[in-house]
Symmetry: C4
Subunit: 230 residues, 4 copies
C-alpha cells in the first residue's frame, strides 16, 4: 500500500494545504446550520495526484484539525491519516472517478433538504436563486444503503439527467453536492438548504408559481458566465 | 470615465465614511439571518455627489472590507473599486434616480419573505408592527430577470402604489427595501423578514385577523412621527 | 417635576443597580431570539421608591447602556434620562400601579407568540412545561392601539381571569410578561416563545392532546412551590 | 447520610472529573438549541461507585459551574452539593438502577421533539439517520407528573419495547435520552431534535416514505458496529 512518503514534495505540499482547507470548511457547515454533531462531511480532490482529503469518521466538529483529515486514493484506500475515513468515502471517490471536473464533494443531512428527501419529491424551481444556482429543480436520487459506493453511483447517475444542478437529494437520506473545489461544494450545500427551506415554506402558503423554463435558462446562463469576479 | 480623483476632498471623505458604513452593515444581514453566503447586498447614496457605494459581486461576507466596496455613479458606472459591483447595481441606481428621498437600498433572499414572493401573495397586515413599519400589507412586485435595471423599475412602480411601505417582495425572487440611509434600509429588511415569518406562522394556525385600515393609519402616523428619539 | 436629585442616596443607589440589570437583560432578549432590531422592552420597578427603569425608545440593542435607561415615576413621567422612554411606558406603569406584586415587565414581538396573537387564539395547554409556568393556556388580550396605557389595562384585565399566567398575548400585537423582577419577566418571555413555537409545531402534526385540568393544577402547584433553590 | 468524605480518593477523583464533564455538556444543550433558560438536565453515573452527578434545580445555564453540580446516590439522595438537585433526579436514578449499561441520561424540552410528544405520535422512521441512530421510529412514553420516579419508570418500560432507541418522547412533556456516558446521551438528544424537526417538516410536504424494516436493521447494525473510530 502506498504511503504519503511515496509521493513527490509537490503532492505532499498540496496535501498539507488541502487538509487545512477541508478542516476549515467544516466550520462553514456549522455556521450555516447544515450539520448536527458529526453528521456531515467535506472532501477535496487534489490537483497534483489522484488523491483526496476527507473528514475522519464520527469525530465531533470541535475536535477536527487539519492533521485529523484523512488522505485516500480515488478508490478510497487510506494513504495517510491516524483516523478511519468517513463512511461515505467510497461514494466521494466514485464521484471523483466519474466526474473529472469535480474537485469538491459535500454531504450533509441539513433539515429542510432532508425533509424533501424523505418524501421523494424534488424541490420545484420557484426562485431566481434556483435558476441561478441549480438551473431548475433540485433532483432526488435513489435510496441506497450507507457504506458502499452505491450512493456515489446514485449521485452521478442523477446528475447526468440534471447537468446544471450541483446537488442531489438522496432519497430518505440527505443532500450531496459537488463543486470545482470543496468551498464551491460547501456553498452549494448552503444554497441547497436555503432553497429547500424557502420552497418548503412557500409550499405551506398555497400554490407556488414555478419559473418558465426559458427564464430559468437565461438566469442560469448569466449566473454561471457573468456573475462574480472574472 | 470619471475617477474618484476627479471629485472634491469633501466627496472623497464621504466615500471613505460610507464605505465603512456599508461594509459594516453587511454584518447586520448575517446577524439577523437575512442572507446565506454572498446572496444579498447593501448600498448607500452619497449626500455630497451623485454617487453610491455598493457591495462587490459574489464576494463572501467574511472577506468584505471597506476598501472592497465599489463606488459607482447613479447610472451604475464604476468610479472607484478593485472589484466588479453587485449584479443588482443597475437596479439600485434606478431606485436612487427615481426616488430622491431614498439614500439606502438593501436586497436579500431572506427565507420567509422570499417564500411569500414565490407564491406571488402579499403579506396581509395582521400586526401592529406592520401598521407601524409598513402602513399596510407588504406588496409584491413583478417578476423580472436579473442584471438590468428592470428590477429597480419594478420596485419603484410598486412603491408608488404602496407609499408607506419600505419593502417590495419581487415575485419569485426576494425583498428589496429602501430607507433614508443604508442602516434604515437594513432595518426594513430585518423587519420584513420578521413580519414575513410571523404572518407565515399565523397563516398555518387558521384565519388571520387583519387590522382595520383606520387603525393601520393611526399606527403608521404615530410611528413615523412620534416614535424614537426626536 | 421631580428629578433624581430629589431622591435619597438609597434610591439613587437602587436606580444605578437596576439600570445595570435592565440594560443587561436586553441581551437576553437577543440571546433567546425574542426581538429584532429595537422591537422589545424591559422594565423593573424599584423597591425603594415608586419609580421604574425602562428602555429608551427606538435605540438599537448594540447601543443600549445602563446610563441610556430611562427612570420614570409610576405615571410614566421621566425623572432621569437623556433619551425618551419606550412608547410602551404608560402601559408598563399601568401594570405596576395595578399589580402590586409585579416588579418586572417585558414586551416582545417574538415570532411564534405573535403568530398566535395574529389569529386571536390562546395557546392550548398541551405541555407539562405550560402547566408549570402558565398554569393553563396562554391567554389572548384585547386589540389596542400603541402609545396610551390601554395596553397595560388590557394586560391587567386579562391576567385577572388567568391568575396563574405570567403572560398575555395582546391580539395582533405580541406578548407582555410579568414577574417578581425584570429577570423573572424575561424568563417568562423566553418560555412564552418556546411554548408558542412548540404548540404551533404540534398543531401542524394533528390533534394536540390537552392536559387534564387536575394535572395542570398539580404541576403548577409543585413548580411554583417546590422547584428551584429555596 | 453518607457524605463524599466517606468515599475513597479514587471515587472523589472521578466525582471531580465527572462534575467538569457534566457542567461542560450543558453548553452543548445550548449550542444545539435544545433548551431555553433552565429547562433541561444532564447526568452521568460514576464507574467507581453507585453515585451520579446531575444539574442543580432551576439554575440559569450561565451560572452552571462544575462545583454547582450535585452528587447523589442511585436513590437520588444528595451526597455532595450546595444546591438542590434537578427535580428529575428520581427519574434519572430509576433509569440507572434498571438499565445497568446506561451511564448518561439527558432530558430536554427541545421544540420539535416536544411537539411530537404533545400529539402522542411517535416519529416515523423515514431517514437513514434514524435507522442508524434509533433503529426505527422514536417511541412515545406515557404521560407522568413531574417530581417522582414515575417518569424514569416510563422511560425504562418504553425502551424495553424499543431496544435500539436511545430516546423516548414522554407524552406532553419532552424527550429523555440515554447513552454509555453523558456525552453519548447529549448526542442522542441532539439527534432526536434533528430527526424530529426533519420528519416534522417532511410531514408538512405530503406523504413520508417510511424505510423498509430490513433496511433499518442493516443500517442500525452497520452504524452501531462499524461507524466511527474503533
Amino acid at each position: 500500500m502506498a504511503t504519503l512518503a511515496d509521493y513527490s514534495p509537490e503532492v505532499r505540499a498540496e496535501v498539507k494545504q488541502v487538509r487545512e482547507q477541508v478542516a476549515t470548511l467544516h466550520e462553514q457547515l456549522i455556521k450555516w446550520n447544515l450539520v448536527v454533531w458529526t453528521a456531515g462531511n467535506v472532501s477535496q480532490r487534489l490537483r497534483s495526484a489522484d488523491l483526496m482529503v476527507i473528514k475522519p469518521s464520527g469525530v465531533r466538529y470541535d475536535f477536527l484539525t487539519p492533521q485529523s483529515m484523512v488522505v485516500t486514493d480515488l478508490e478510497g484506500n487510506v494513504v495517510d491519516g491516524l483516523e478511519a475515513p468517513s463512511s461515505d468515502t467510497a461514494s466521494h471517490a466514485y464521484i471523483y472517478r466519474h466526474m473529472p471536473n469535480v474537485y469538491g464533494v459535500v454531504h450533509t443531512h441539513s433539515t429542510y433538504a432532508t425533509a424533501w428527501a424523505a418524501t421523494g419529491k424534488e424541490i420545484p424551481c420557484g426562485l431566481t436563486m434556483m435558476g441561478d444556482e441549480f438551473g431548475g429543480p433540485v433532483p432526488v436520487g435513489p435510496f441506497e444503503l450507507i457504506g458502499s459506493e452505491q450512493i456515489g453511483k446514485g449521485v452521478v447517475e442523477t446528475l447526468e439527467r440534471y447537468p446544471h444542478s450541483p446537488a442531489v437529494l438522496m432519497r430518505n437520506h440527505g443532500p450531496f453536492t459537488i463543486g470545482k473545489d470543496a468551498e464551491d461544494a460547501v456553498k452549494a450545500a448552503a444554497m441547497t438548504e436555503e432553497v429547500a427551506h424557502t420552497m418548503w415554506a412557500a409550499s405551506q402558503l398555497g400554490k407556488i408559481i414555478e419559473l418558465d423554463p426559458d427564464d430559468i435558462d437565461k438566469l442560469n446562463d448569466r449566473y454561471q458566465n457573468v456573475y462574480g469576479q472574472h
